[in-house]
């Protein structure tokens, strides 16, 4: 058994590029993000903002045609994973960093039972005591409200979406990783199953003493489980801070727009407003100036030429030229 501790993570100046017909384009441009040990951090943002790319970078697992072209990802106990290669890297994945891929529901091998896949995972990590691994898996599945023995004997198609998602979480935890990355863990699940999975994530996080990163396009999901919330746009983290604060008094115009666009169960339907425009794709991210300016109601001259650097305001980090001074209460009122 490895020692139980929740690692801290420091992502610094991380740049990831994808090769495209018009050359290498950055999906992440100088991203900085700190995960405090023992916390649950959420990453939200629109499709293509770079959430999965950032999450994959924590395992140095960005796939070609992508590559990490600069920066570092320091994980306590592992060092800079950007520099890890070969066997060291393979061992770190699963052992130290557990990962549930986006669309984990479709990522199990359809031809093998869950138990077989678990044994493959164990062998690839040179687990000596495979029966103990199976016991641990059964216990974890039981912990998540499933009949572990039966799930291990099942093929993917015999499991519902919610069950597969829990199998994914089990596989991420079974090697006793203390940093766990969940990419869209509840997307496409119904509300009750989602609530169950989120409760499980919170409980397992607490019981095992983990550092957890959850990627989701659903702000509600992030609101429900995270301590800390990072908002991404166009390959940048544009706002980051304690979840309640970020949602209760968002400072970046993008965060404000996102929150305003959430369909709500109560209140005036007209209050929810779509964010005009659409998120940039790799090819349309502006090379200079603020990446959000095309959609920004507060755009100024400087925004066209200078990419705003993230600046700290107490526990909050915001990258916006309009947030340089104390918060403008007149603008904020409607959000608090």
């Amino acid at each position: 058994m490895t020692e139980s501790f929740a690692p801290g993570v420091r992502v610094q100046d991380l740049t990831v590029v994808y090769r495209t017909p018009v050359g290498e384009l950055p999906a992440l441009a100088g991203v900085g993000l700190t995960l405090a040990p023992g916390t649950i951090t959420g990453i939200v943002g629109e499709s293509g903002s770079g959430k999965s790319t950032l999450a994959l970078s924590l395992l140095n697992a960005v796939q070609p045609p992508g590559r990490i072209s600069g920066g570092s990802v320091e994980i306590d106990g592992l060092g800079d994973v950007v520099r890890l290669t070969g066997d060291d890297l393979r061992r770190a994945r699963g052992r130290q960093v557990g990962y549930v891929f986006q669309a984990a529901q479709n990522s199990l091998n359809p031809l093998k039972t869950v138990g077989k896949q678990l044994l493959d995972l164990g062998r690839s990590h040179d687990v000596a005591d495979l029966p103990a691994l199976l016991r641990e898996a059964r216990a974890l599945l039981g912990r998540m409200g499933l009949d572990g023995g039966r799930v291990l004997d099942s093929y993917q198609h015999e499991l519902s979406g919610g069950m597969r998602q829990r199998v994914g979480i089990m596989l991420a935890l079974v090697l006793n990783a203390h940093l766990v990355v969940l990419d869209e863990p509840t997307t496409a699940l119904d509300m009750i199953t989602q609530a169950t999975i989120l409760r499980i994530v919170k409980e397992v996080h607490r019981e095992r003493g983990l550092t957890t990163l959850i990627v989701t396009h659903d702000i509600g999901v992030a609101a429900e489980v995270t301590d800390s919330l990072a908002v991404m746009y166009g390959g940048r983290v544009v706002e980051h801070g304690p979840t309640m604060d970020v949602l209760g008094s968002p400072r970046h115009p993008y965060t404000r727009g996102l929150i305003r666009a959430i369909p709500r169960l109560s209140g005036d339907i007209g209050e929810a407003t779509a964010l005009p425009g659409r998120p940039p794709t790799l090819g349309t991210i502006p090379a200079e100036g603020c990446v959000f300016r095309e959609r920004c109601p507060l755009r100024m001259a400087v925004c066209d030429t200078v990419d705003p650097a993230p600046a700290a305001y107490g526990e909050r980090t915001v990258a916006c030229h309009a947030v340089g001074r104390p918060v403008n209460l007149a603008v904020r009122k409607e959000y608090v």
Binding site: S47, A103, R150, D190, M191, A223, L265, S266, A274, T284
Partner: protein, 332 residues
């Protein structure tokens, strides 16, 4: 207008983890979708929503009951005549990962149905090209970016938008939108919902909307009807706003209680309902279908099955009671 009366569907299943017995996917469902109207079905996974959507789209058979499209009962028709009616109903697939052919570019995917459409309408090839761009713009993506690309080169959200654009290529009269906005970015979700609402108003397209995200049902039009389905039975039904703001069935209340609370902006409802256990297909079929999981069940619930009562806002429960389950503004 499409109506369904007493629609039932049973899947014969071989033994496996989920059942080992037949699954009654629909147990006598009645519904009516007016021309240009909007009907939303909500319920957990496995409760029969997709089955119903596929039946309405003519992609699945039903065992008994009747579907009537614009006055014509479908059961009396021969296969080909029936298909002609069902062609006016387009299903938007719920899974954007498998809905698109991975070996074809988005241009190829949209071109096939549009070229056919152009021939039917006596339009030119250029029209088909123009229409592809128009539809992609309509669903909020940059045609120049996506047209030459393959599905795997697009992010998940973009793929779903392409799927919706493809359904729109045939100018359908009814859209069956099965979980079609769940995968879409929140910023665009309202746009797509507004688009569905707009298509209803401008083109008189009806929408059968199937979703987990109950709040979105409010945004496809305030004249919509909401149906709550549990294990193949409609357990609550009424005007969307009424069912959401004054739900009386414990199952509806459980669904609404499970919706994530925007902490910092909202507080949870004071009387949140949590099912006492997980959904299990093998739960008894005798009394109320929800009895095993219902915190409010009584003896009667376990022996008798309540049926849907009430006209405007109906429910199937022996002990209906309004409860404050939906979140309230944090400042209120």
């Amino acid at each position: 207008m499409i109506t369904g009366t007493g629609v039932t569907k049973t899947y014969r299943q071989r033994g496996n983890l989920l059942g080992g017995r037949d699954v009654q996917a629909l147990r006598g469902v009645d519904f009516a979708i007016e021309k240009g109207g909007a009907v939303t079905f909500i319920g957990e996974s496995g409760c029969g929503k997709t089955t119903l959507g596929r039946i309405v789209a003519g992609l699945e058979t039903y065992d008994s009951g009747e579907i009537v499209i614009d006055g014509t009962p479908m059961s009396g028709l021969r296969h080909r005549q029936r298909q002609a009616h069902f062609r006016r109903v387009q299903l938007i697939h719920q899974d954007p990962y498998s809905a698109l052919n991975p070996t074809r570019t988005i241009h190829q995917t949209l071109h096939a149905p549009l070229a056919l459409r152009a021939r039917q309408k006596g339009r030119s090839k250029a029209w088909a090209e123009e229409r592809a761009r128009e539809l992609l713009t309509l669903v909020g993506i940059d045609p120049g970016y996506v047209l030459p690309r393959y599905p795997h080169q697009l992010s998940g959200g973009m793929r779903q938008r392409v799927v919706i654009a493809r359904a729109l290529t045939v100018d359908p009269e009814v859209l069956v939108a099965d979980e079609s906005v769940s995968m879409i970015d929140v910023s665009l979700r309202l746009g797509i919902l507004a688009l569905l609402k707009d298509l209803r108003e401008r083109l008189n397209v009806s929408v059968l909307f199937i979703t987990h995200d109950i709040a979105t049902a409010r945004y496809i039009g305030d004249d919509g009807e909401l149906y709550v389905i549990y294990r193949g039975q409609v357990v609550e039904r009424g005007p969307t706003e009424a069912v959401i703001s004054e739900p009386v069935h414990p199952y509806t209340q459980a669904l609404l209680s499970a919706i994530p609370v925007l902490r910092g902006v909202e507080r949870p409802g004071a009387e949140r309902v949590v099912p006492t256990e997980a959904l299990d297909e093998r739960h008894a079929d005798t009394g109320c279908l929800f009895a095993r999981r219902c915190p409010f069940r009584t003896e009667r619930c376990e022996s008798e099955r309540p049926s849907l009562e009430g006209t405007v806002h109906g429910h199937a429960c022996y002990h209906p009671q309004p409860r404050a389950v939906i979140p309230v503004e944090a400042s209120a």
